[in-house]
Point group: C2
Amino acid sequence: MNMSTDSSHPYEAGLGKNAANYIPLSPIGFLGRSAAVYPNRTSVIHGNRRYTWRQSLERCRRLASALAKRGIGRGDTVAVMAPNVPEVFEAHFGVPMAGAVLNALNIRLDAETIAFILKHGGAKVLITDTEFAPVIGPALKLLDKKPLVIDIADPQGPGGDRLGECDYEAFLTIGAPNFAELRPEDEWDAIALNYTSGTTGNPKGVVYHHRGAYLNALGNILTWGMRQHPVYLWTLPMFHCNGWCFPWTVTALAGTHVCLRRVEAGAIYEAVERDGVTHLCGAPVVMNMLLNARQGKKLPRPIEMMTAGAAPPAAVIGGMEVLGFRITHVYGLTETYGPSTVCAWHDEWDARSDDERARLKARQGVSYPVLEGLTVADPDTLEPVAADGATMGEVFMRGNIVMKGYLKNPAATQEAFAGGWFHSGDLGVMHPDGYIEIKDRSKDIIISGGENISTIEVEDVLYRHPAVLEAAVVARPDDMWGETPCAFVTLKDDAEAAADDIIAFCRQHLARFKAPRHVIFGPLPKTSTGKIQKFVLRERAKLAR
Amino acid sequence: MNMSTDSSHPYEAGLGKNAANYIPLSPIGFLGRSAAVYPNRTSVIHGNRRYTWRQSLERCRRLASALAKRGIGRGDTVAVMAPNVPEVFEAHFGVPMAGAVLNALNIRLDAETIAFILKHGGAKVLITDTEFAPVIGPALKLLDKKPLVIDIADPQGPGGDRLGECDYEAFLTIGAPNFAELRPEDEWDAIALNYTSGTTGNPKGVVYHHRGAYLNALGNILTWGMRQHPVYLWTLPMFHCNGWCFPWTVTALAGTHVCLRRVEAGAIYEAVERDGVTHLCGAPVVMNMLLNARQGKKLPRPIEMMTAGAAPPAAVIGGMEVLGFRITHVYGLTETYGPSTVCAWHDEWDARSDDERARLKARQGVSYPVLEGLTVADPDTLEPVAADGATMGEVFMRGNIVMKGYLKNPAATQEAFAGGWFHSGDLGVMHPDGYIEIKDRSKDIIISGGENISTIEVEDVLYRHPAVLEAAVVARPDDMWGETPCAFVTLKDDAEAAADDIIAFCRQHLARFKAPRHVIFGPLPKTSTGKIQKFVLRERAKLAR
C-alpha cells in the first residue's frame, strides 16, 4: 500500500494540507517571533548604532515594502555590495520578505566580475556601500540594463561617491513599517543566490531555497549547542554563503548581531570587551591574527569559534584554546549553505595529547544533523572507499541543505548532482570512525584567506597578456593566507616580460587577491597527451621564493 | 511572476528536486546519525539493562525487519501497550523504519476503549507488556480481527500472562540487524496515531506526520536550549503525544534515555543520583510528588524540568527551584505534537518577587519556534481579542506542528481546522506582552493526573445505569490530581441507587481514573432552552465532600 499516492488510504483520506497545518518553511518567520517575544532586546550593534528586535523587524518590513513599491516581487533578484553592516543583515530578511532573492556580492571582486554577476543574476536592485563606488561605478557602466541603485552611506565607512538614486535610509522611509511580509508560496522557492568560483572561469550562481536556509539555520544551533541570546560577532563575511546562514540562526535565537566593517584584531577584541561576544566564525587566517595580536592574554570569558576553510594547525588550535577560544571545526561549500559537516567532539578525546587532539580536530568530521548523507566515494562509480583513513575518494553529500542548483546552468547542475549525490569536488578519506578528512582541494581551486580562486580565471587573464604563450596557475602554501596563486608562464619566442609586469597586468584585470604572488618562467611539464601536469607544478611552487 | 508555478522562471528552470538535494524530513534519520557518530555512548538505561547507540540502532532495525517479514509496511498500524520501557522507545524508530505508523496506547485505559482504538486504528500488530494482560486479554476478545500480538516480558515488571505468539526479544531475532530502513516517500506520511479524549464520547485518533515529528523534535531543543548528550528521565509517558516528541529529540542529541516503569519519587531520585539525569518532563502532580518526597534536600546538580497540563502553583514552583529544579512551563495538545507554546523567560524577570515570577511563569506564553501562528480570538469570527490580559477568547494555532487531522473523522477534522486555524478548544487571554494564558479548559474536559477525561464519555456510562434519569459530569478541583470527575445525577421516579453503586457501575465500564469520585443527587440546573448549566455545577462540585 502506497500511502503517499493513495488518497483513499485512511492515513491520507481527508488529511491533506491546509492553512492550519502546513506552512512552507522559511527563516523569515524567525524575525517576527523574536520581535514579538523580545521586542526590546538588542538585535544589532554597529559602532554607536544599536537596534532592538522591534526596530529590526520594522526596518526589514520597510525594506520589503519599499522594494515592493518599486515593483520588486517574487523571483526578482536584489544584489547587495557591502561589508558586514546592519544593512546586509536586514537584506537577509527584507529582501525575501518582498518575495525576492538576495544576491550578496563578494566585496573583493573586480568590476568585470561584478558586472558579469549582476547581468547573469538579473539583479533589478543593487544596494551598495559607498566604499565600493570605485568598483561598482565601472561595473554598472558595463551593463546595458541598469538596476535601481541604492547607496549605503555608513558614517563608519570611508565615504565615497554615491551612485544611486537615494540612500538606504531614505529608501526605508518610503516603505511601511507594518508591511505584511510575503511568505514563500513553496519552501522550494529561491531565497538567495551566491556566486562561487568554480573550476570553470565564470562564477556559478548557487541558488538556495527557503527550506534549506531554515534547516541549516537550525543546523548551526544543533551543531554548536547554541542557546537563547548569543552575542555573535560578524567576522565571517555575510556574503559568504549568506554568512553560513548565521543571519537567520542568530535571529532565531533572539541573539545580538555585532557588525564589523573590517576584520581587524583590535576591533574584534574591542567588541569582545564592549559587547560581550559569545560566538564568532572565521577562517584559520582570522585565528592566526587573533592569536598574534593577543600575546597570551586570556579572554574575559570563553568564546566559541567556528572555523572552516583549511585544517587548522595544531599550534594555532592549542594557542587559541589557551586564550579561551573553544574551536569547532566545520566544513562545507557554497553549494551546501556553508557548513554541512562538523568534527563532532568526543569527551574522551580531551585526555589525548595536544598534537593528537589537533590531529583529531583537523578532520572535517561527520554530517551536520540536517544533512542526510555524507560519503567518500569513487567519483565514477560512487562506490564508497574503504574507511581506512588512507584510500582517497571524492566527498559527496546529499540532503536538504544541498543547493537547488546553479542558476541558468543546467549542464553544471546535472554534473553536480550526477548519480543522486552532490559532487563536492574535494578529495578526502574516510577514517575507521566514520569521520572524513579532506586531503586535497579539487585540483584547480586555490583557497586564499578563505576566498576561492579559480585558477582557470587567472589563467584566462595571463593568456591575455601579449607576451604569454602558455600559463598554468597552482596553489602555493602560504603561512598567512593558507594558499596564494603561483603562476607558471612560458613566454612567446622573442617576447619579454618580468614577473612584476605579469602581476601588475593581472591586478588590472582581476580582484587583487586573485593575482599571482609568484611568477615562474619556463616550459610547462606535460603528459604524453599534452595535459599540463599541475601536480608537478604544485611541488615546484612550494620551493618558489 | 509566480516562481512556484512557472517552471520556466530562471530560479525554477532545471532546479527541481532530486535525490541529492531533497529528502523528506523524518526523525528516524536521527538514530542512524547518533549511532554512526557516537556508537559506544549509552543510549538507553532500564534498571540493569543498558544499550549503546550502535545496539539501539541494531535493535530498531531488527524490529523494523521483523515487522516487514510479517508483512507490515507503509501505512500499517502497530500498537504498543506498555509503560516507559526500552521497547516503547525502540518502537518510535523501528515501527516507522518499517514504513508503519505507531499507535502508543494509554496504559490506563479500559478494555472497551482499547478495543475501540485497536479496531478504529486498524492495528495489525500489538506489542503489549504482560502487566496489562488483564486489560488486553478482554480487549482482544472484543475484536473480530485479531492483530499479531507480541509480548513484552520485562524482568522488572510484575509478570502477567503472555497473550502473544512470541515475546519481543524472540521477535527481534527474526529481524536483520542491518535492515535498510524505509524513509517516508513523502514527509506528510503518517508516523504516529495518538488517541485523545475529546469532547465527544469516542476517542479521536490524532495523526502525526514525519515532517511535524522532525520539526517538533527540534523545537524542543530550541525551546529548552538543549545541547549534546542530555540524560533524559522518562517520567512523562511515551504514550502521551509520543512523549512530546522526546524519543526523537533525545536521540537527535545522542543523549541517554533513562526508562522508568512507574513514576515514583524514590525511583526518580535514585535515577538522578545513579544516572546523572539532566532533564525530565512531567505534570504539576509530578512536581508535587518530587517536592514532598525531597524534604528540602538540594539536588546534586541543577535539573531542567518541563511541565505542562495546568498552571503550576507559586509555592510549588518556588519549592522546586529551591531544590535545584529549573522549571520551564510549556503548553500544547495532542493535536500539536505535545508542547507548542512556552513561557519564554526574560532575564529581567529574575529580579521580581517569588509570587510575581510564579504568576509570570504560570502563563502558557508564546509559540514554539517551529509553530508559525498562535492567537487568542473569537471562536466564530477568528477576530483576535484585545491583548489586555482580560478579554477571553479561544486559543488557535497554525503551523507545521499541527496534526494532519483525525483518523476517519472528516467532520471533526474540518471542524478543528475551520477558518485555517486549529481550534484548541481552550479558552484564554492575550496579555499585553503577547503571552497567552489559559483561563479555562474547553468546558467539558477534565484533566486528572495529566489525563484527559471526556465528561461525555462518563455521562454515557451513567446514562446506561438503570436508575439514572439524567446525568452531568464536571471537574472538581483536587489537591492530588488537579481535577477529578464529579457526577450530578437525577434518578428515575421510584428508582433507588447509592453513590457507591453509581461509582462501582462506572468502574465496571470505564478506566478507573475516569469514574466519578463524587456523586451528587438532585435535579440539574438548566437554561431556558433546556441546556444543563455546567458552570453552576462546577461551583457546586467545589463544595462536595
